[in-house]
Structures are given as structure tokens and as C-alpha cells.
């Protein structure tokens, strides 16, 4: 078996002293797509943000390893430069900072050297075209006044430009109409290769019709309670989260 690309090892995460992720473990190998599915409040966004190193989330147990190296002590920008990527559920708007300036800096940071303007333009225009985005789009300020769909496309644009090793997609499908969902999914599929891995974090099964997962995990109360193949997602679609939640609730009550 190929060595793991990304490992989450007994991870415990708290927000303001409240433990949200309770010893979660997961291993992604190169070329794999994993989906973590969970209801509201199960810890999906906490997991996504803590993987990237958001300062609001405190990791007080376990480890996160990228290509065998622990990244928990690293700042978000260091993790990003090593090839970890988070597609935000709610991308932050930054008025006054143009997309094009931001994208070029991000790409240069990821590469470790200034990217030549011509090459940047070329790559940028190619991906813009693929995502059916107007070239004028990058003249706008980062996420400022973007529609929900534009924000998600902009995240996929960054995914394509930065070519990370591991992409964590936090509810990328939420708020998208069917056409946008298809375009965004194609963007993810185009990015995906045998060398990288994708962790899709989602509430609904619908994006999984477009992006085929190798493994599906059910997240309840900050733990993975069940893992399986793509058919698990279909089961969830049919039966909902209820069957998985009951034991977890009981546990809380008896503890």
C-alpha cells in the first residue's frame, strides 16, 4: 500500500473550552476522495478549520500529519505552503484587496518564488474559462459583493491555481444551484489526480453524485461513527442521520 498522504490521528479540538472534535482519526492516501458527512452541529466546520489551523480552534490532543510530518505546530500559512488547502464554507470578503493581487501572491507563496506575470495570466485564464468565469471577475475585491455561487467558484479557482496535495472542501456544495454545482464539481474532478487527495465535508449527498468518493464517513458529535464505501452515502440519503445518532446520544446521557 502507498504511504498515507494525510493523517488525522485521534484529533481533539475545542472551541472556547468546549470540546467539539473527540478523537477523530482518518487516513487519506494519494488519489483518494473521502467524504465526511454529518448533521448540523456534528463538528464538520470545526474539523475543517482546525485542520487549516484557525486560531479560534484549540487542538489539545492527537495529531495531523501531511506526508508523515506533523503540522499541528505550524501556522496556517506554513500548512498552506506545504500543500494543504481549505475551501471555505463562508469565504471572507476583504474589501480593497483585488482578487488578482491576492491570487498572484497566494500562488507565489505556494511556489516559494514569484510567479512570472505571463505564466500567471495564462494559468489564470485557463481556469477561469473552465469555471465559466469572466476575466473581469479577478478585478473585483476578494469575495466582496460576490454571490454565494461566485464565492464557491472563487474557491475552486484557488484550488486549481494552488494545486495543493490535500484539499479539504468545507460544504462546498451548500448554496449552489444545480448548474453551479456541476461546474464546481467538474473543477474538483479536474484538479483531482493520483498524486493528491480530497476530503469533502458535507451535509448532503448531492455533490457526491458528481465527485465520486472512495470512502464515506459519518460524523456524529465529533467522532466518526461509521465508515464505508459510496453506498453509505446512499444509505444516509435514504434513512437520514437518525439511525447513527441514537447511540451517540445515549452515550452522552449515561456519561
Amino acid at each position: 500500500m502507498t504511504p498515507p498522504l494525510f493523517e488525522i490521528d485521534a484529533l481533539q479540538v475545542a472551541v472556547e473550552d468546549k470540546q467539539i472534535v473527540n478523537g477523530l482519526s482518518l487516513t487519506l492516501r494519494p488519489g483518494e476522495v473521502h467524504a465526511i458527512m454529518g448533521p448540523n452541529g456534528s463538528g464538520k466546520s470545526t474539523l475543517a478549520n482546525s485542520l487549516m489551523g484557525h486560531p479560534r480552534y484549540t487542538i489539545h490532543g492527537g495529531d495531523i500529519r501531511l506526508e508523515g510530518e506533523s503540522v499541528v505546530e505550524l501556522a496556517p500559512d506554513e500548512r498552506a505552503r506545504l500543500g494543504l488547502f481549505l475551501a471555505f464554507q463562508y469565504p471572507t470578503d476583504i474589501p480593497g484587496v483585488s482578487m488578482i493581487n491576492f491570487l498572484r501572491r497566494a500562488m507565489s507563496a505556494r511556489r516559494g518564488e514569484e510567479i512570472p506575470v505571463r505564466e500567471f495570466r495564462q494559468v489564470l485564464n485557463e481556469i477561469l474559462g473552465r469555471l465559466q468565469m469572466d476575466e473581469q471577475f479577478v478585478r473585483r475585491y476578494v469575495n466582496d459583493g460576490f454571490s454565494g455561487g461566485e464565492k464557491k467558484r472563487a474557491e475552486i479557482l484557488q484550488l486549481g491555481l494552488l494545486e495543493p496535495k490535500v484539499a479539504v472542501m468545507d460544504e462546498t456544495d451548500s448554496g449552489l444551484d444545480i448548474d453551479a454545482l456541476r461546474i464546481v464539481s467538474e473543477g474538483i474532478n479536474t484538479f483531482h489526480s493520483d498524486d493528491n487527495a480530497i476530503l469533502l465535508i458535507t451535509h448532503y449527498q448531492r455533490i457526491l453524485r458528481y465527485v465520486q468518493p472512495d470512502h464515506v464517513h459519518v460524523l456524529i458529535d465529533g467522532r466518526i461513527v461509521e465508515s464505508g464505501d459510496a453506498s453509505l452515502a446512499e444509505r444516509l440519503e435514504r434513512d437520514g442521520y437518525e439511525p447513527f445518532m441514537a447511540p451517540a446520544k445515549e452515550e452522552v446521557l449515561t456519561s
Binding site: 487549516m52 479560534r56 500559512d77 474589501p95 491576492f102
Partner: protein, 453 residues
């Protein structure tokens, strides 16, 4: 002597007779016409009849007493100051393209020009002393018409000015490119009083950029100079006047300015100020919205470092019907710098259908920095729309996280957010070159520690 006991070293005794003699000598040395000497002397009498600020007044309560001298000295008038030319290096902010320009160093003229098209339309940009001789009638008509002096500094400014500019656009004149008034402050020349008069006649359109730089910012100077700038902006009915001022005074300077705008019927005045230098900078902007349908915009931008104190005191004074005024201040404070904004919207009973708004936002980048935004509303009309918003806080951590999550290091990310924050104010400057200059100055000012350069 009634002023024998002085409680602060910055306060110096006023000797009326000496001042009268000095003003007369100053005016004579500049070869000014009699009416201008009379204007100076009348202003001086007004000033002598006023008191200095005490710190008890609402808009002075937060001004550090020891850092803004209460004194009135005629600035050093070096030889050749009667508006004659000297040779000097170009001003650091000098633009590539412009409709007209006056560059002054310590009252002496280093450069002066005006594009043929503007000249053909009758537009004037000249050093004040030159205009007083060559356009005496016009200047006499407009000088001081914005109203009586705001306070003692403003009154002394009218009496003691040693350099200034007169900008005039006749009825219907339209100049697309900006005019530039460039000042190089000779830091060894002590106190200075500047005077800027801009008149946009009916239906005209004009923009002036007032850019001031100190000539030796590294120099250690004995006594910190006091610089006062009086700015009078007049937009007659239907005129559009834009004014931007950018200052990078020497770091020991105490700078105070009084900008008065008079907005005519359906006219507009847009003011943008950017403050980078000085130990203390107190900017007063007063907009007279007496006419119906007028529009005024006041934008202020600053980056404070060290122990700088940066203050904005503004008044949006509405008497006309259906006029709009907007105040937007954004500042960034590092180290132990402090900012104060005192913004008053005053609407008289006749000022119905007024739209008046104020926004003051301060980003604090260091624990020692602070800001005190104080919006004030005095509304006596019942059919108006007013709003005010004030904010003080650090850079939004979510913005920083977003940029960091893309590999951008924290310091660079912070810089990007800050420059973005300020660029929305700088966008109001009607000249691309100047917007770039401001962006560079922001960058320089944000450089950590070390002497300002």
C-alpha cells in the same frame, strides 16, 4: 504684563504692536497691494480679539496640550521670498502629467506652470503673492468669503501667511487633469502659515492636489515648528470642486489645518486628506451646506506610528434643502499612536431633506495604539436622513486567516488587509499618480520601527 506667567513652554506671549509691525513688514517685503495688507491687519485684529484654546472646549478636550503650541510667530522669510523663483529639485510627489502646478519652498517659487488648454479657459493657478498683484480684483473678491475665521489659528493664518496658492476656474471652465500645489517644507525655517484659496465659479469643474513634504525628514531640529494651513474652497452653483491634501511633514512638526468649504446650489465639493507625517496633526474640516441640493464628501486617511497624535474635527453644517454630506474617515494606528475624530452633523431647522452621514473606522495594529471616534448629531429639522458609525478594533482575524490559509505569511496578510482598508479612501483622490503616492506612503509608514523615512 497679563501674560507674564506661562504654564506651558509652548505658549508664548503675544505682543500686539510687534505683530502689527511684523505683518506690515512682511506685506511690504512681498510687494503686496494695500488691500491685502489691510486684509492681513484686519485678520490680525480679529485674532488678537480671540483667545487660545484651553482644552475645555469640546473639540479640544483630547488634544495634548504640550504638543500643539499656542503661539503666533511670523515665519522666517528668507531672502527672495516675494514670490520670485529659485532653482530646486523637483518635489518628490511631482506628477508626470498635470494641468498646472505651483511648487513652493518656504515661500519661494521653485516651479509654476499651466497647460495651454486650462490657460485658454481662463483658469488660474499662481502663488498667492503673485496672484495678489496680477489678479488683485478676483482675489480681493474671494479671499475670506467663506466666513469669519474659525478660531485664533485660522485668524492668525490669514494675517501671517508666508506662502500659499490661488486657484480659480471661471464660469463653465472644465479641467479634467488635476492641478498641483506642491510644498517643500524647509525644516530649519521654523513656523509656517499656509493659505490656499480655490474658487470654482458656476458650472466649472476643477481639482487641486495639495501635497506637502519636508525636505530633510531625518534632520534633528531644535524647536518643533508649528505649521498652520488655511484652506478655503468655494464651489459656486453647479460647480464641482475636488481637493486632496497629502502631508508628510517632519516628525517633530505640530501641524494644524483649517479647511472651509462653501457648497453652492447643486454644487459639489469633495475633500480627501491623507496624513503621514508630523508629531501632532489636527485637521479641521468645516462644510457650509447652506444652498439647496449641494453635495459634499470628506474623506480622511491616516497611518499613525510612534507616538503620533492624529485628530480630525469636522462639521457638516446644513441649512439648504436636499443637500447631502458624507464623512468617511479611516485610519491605521501602530505603536503608541493615538487618533481622535470629533465629527459634528448640524442641521438647522430649514435644512429639510438633508442626507448626512459619517463613518469613522480605526484599525489598531498594536496594543499601545488607541482611537477615540466621537460622532455628534445636532438636528433641528424633522425630515432628514442621518447616520453615523464609529469603529475601533484590530484587523479582522477571519480576513487574516483567509489570506494565511492561502500561504500568505501573517505580516504580509496584515499589510494587504490594511492597504485594502485604506485604498477605499484613497480612491477618492482624483489623480492616479497621487493614489500611487499615497499607497507608497502607506507602505513606508507601516514599516516597523526605525526613524521614519
Amino acid at each position: 504684563m497679563t501674560t507674564a506667567t506661562l504654564d506651558a513652554p509652548s505658549e508664548s506671549e503675544i505682543k500686539p504692536d510687534d505683530l502689527r509691525a511684523q505683518v506690515e513688514a512682511l506685506s511690504r517685503s512681498k510687494g503686496e497691494p494695500d488691500w491685502l495688507l489691510a486684509f492681513r491687519l484686519a485678520s490680525l485684529e480679529q485674532a488678537l480679539g480671540m483667545e487660545w484654546w484651553t482644552g475645555q472646549e469640546e473639540s479640544w478636550r483630547r488634544t495634548p496640550r504640550e504638543r500643539l503650541p499656542r503661539r503666533a510667530r511670523v515665519g522666517n522669510v528668507a531672502g527672495g521670498s516675494n514670490g520670485t523663483s529659485i532653482s530646486a529639485p523637483p518635489h518628490v510627489f511631482a506628477p508626470d502629467a498635470h494641468a498646472g502646478m505651483v511648487h513652493q519652498i518656504d515661500g519661494r517659487v521653485a516651479a509654476s506652470d499651466l497647460a495651454a488648454d486650462a490657460r485658454a479657459q481662463g483658469v488660474i493657478i499662481k502663488p498667492l503673492a503673485v496672484a495678489a498683484r496680477e489678479h488683485a480684483g478676483l482675489m480681493q473678491e474671494w479671499l475670506g468669503v467663506v466666513g469669519p475665521p474659525l478660531d485664533r489659528y485660522d485668524a492668525f493664518g490669514r494675517a501671517l501667511w508666508t506662502q500659499g496658492v490661488f486657484v480659480y476656474a471661471p464660469r463653465g471652465a472644465v479641467v479634467d487633469e488635476s492641478l498641483f500645489y506642491l510644498i517643500t517644507q524647509d525644516v530649519r525655517q521654523g513656523d509656517h502659515w499656509h493659505y490656499t484659496l480655490v474658487v470654482a465659479e458656476r458650472e466649472s469643474q476643477i481639482s487641486l492636489i495639495d501635497a506637502a513634504d519636508a525636505n530633510d525628514r531625518q534632520a534633528k531640529i531644535g524647536e518643533p515648528p508649528l505649521i498652520h494651513a488655511s484652506v478655503e474652497l468655494i464651489a459656486e452653483d453647479g460647480a464641482n470642486l475636488q481637493f486632496a491634501s497629502v502631508q508628510r511633514w517632519h516628525r517633530q512638526t505640530a501641524a494644524i489645518s483649517t479647511t472651509r468649504g462653501r457648497v453652492g446650489r447643486d454644487a459639489s465639493i469633495r475633500v480627501t486628506t491623507a496624513a503621514f507625517g508630523a508629531d501632532l496633526d489636527k485637521q479641521r474640516i468645516d462644510m457650509d451646506m447652506s444652498q439647496n441640493g449641494g453635495f459634499a464628501e470628506m474623506r480622511g486617511l491616516f497611518v499613525g506610528d510612534g507616538k503620533q497624535h492624529i485628530e480630525h474635527v469636522t462639521r457638516q453644517h446644513h441649512k439648504g434643502v436636499g443637500a447631502t454630506s458624507d464623512l468617511l474617515i479611516r485610519g491605521v494606528l501602530t505603536d503608541e499612536s493615538q487618533a481622535v475624530q470629533y465629527g459634528l452633523i448640524r442641521i438647522e431647522p430649514e435644512g429639510q431633506k438633508t442626507n448626512a452621514h459619517q463613518t469613522m473606522r480605526n484599525l489598531l495594529l498594536d496594543d499601545g495604539a488607541g482611537a477615540d471616534p466621537i460622532p455628534m448629531l445636532e438636528i433641528e429639522a424633522d425630515d432628514v436622513k442621518c447616520s453615523h458609525a464609529a469603529a475601533v478594533g484590530p484587523v479582522d482575524p477571519d480576513q487574516l486567516f483567509y489570506l494565511q490559509a492561502r500561504g500568505i505569511p501573517p505580516k504580509v496578510a496584515e499589510r494587504m488587509v490594511v492597504r485594502g482598508f485604506l485604498s477605499e479612501i484613497a480612491d477618492g483622490v482624483p489623480d492616479e499618480h497621487m493614489r500611487e503616492v499615497i499607497d507608497e506612503l502607506v507602505e513606508i509608514q507601516l514599516e516597523p520601527a526605525g526613524p521614519a523615512s
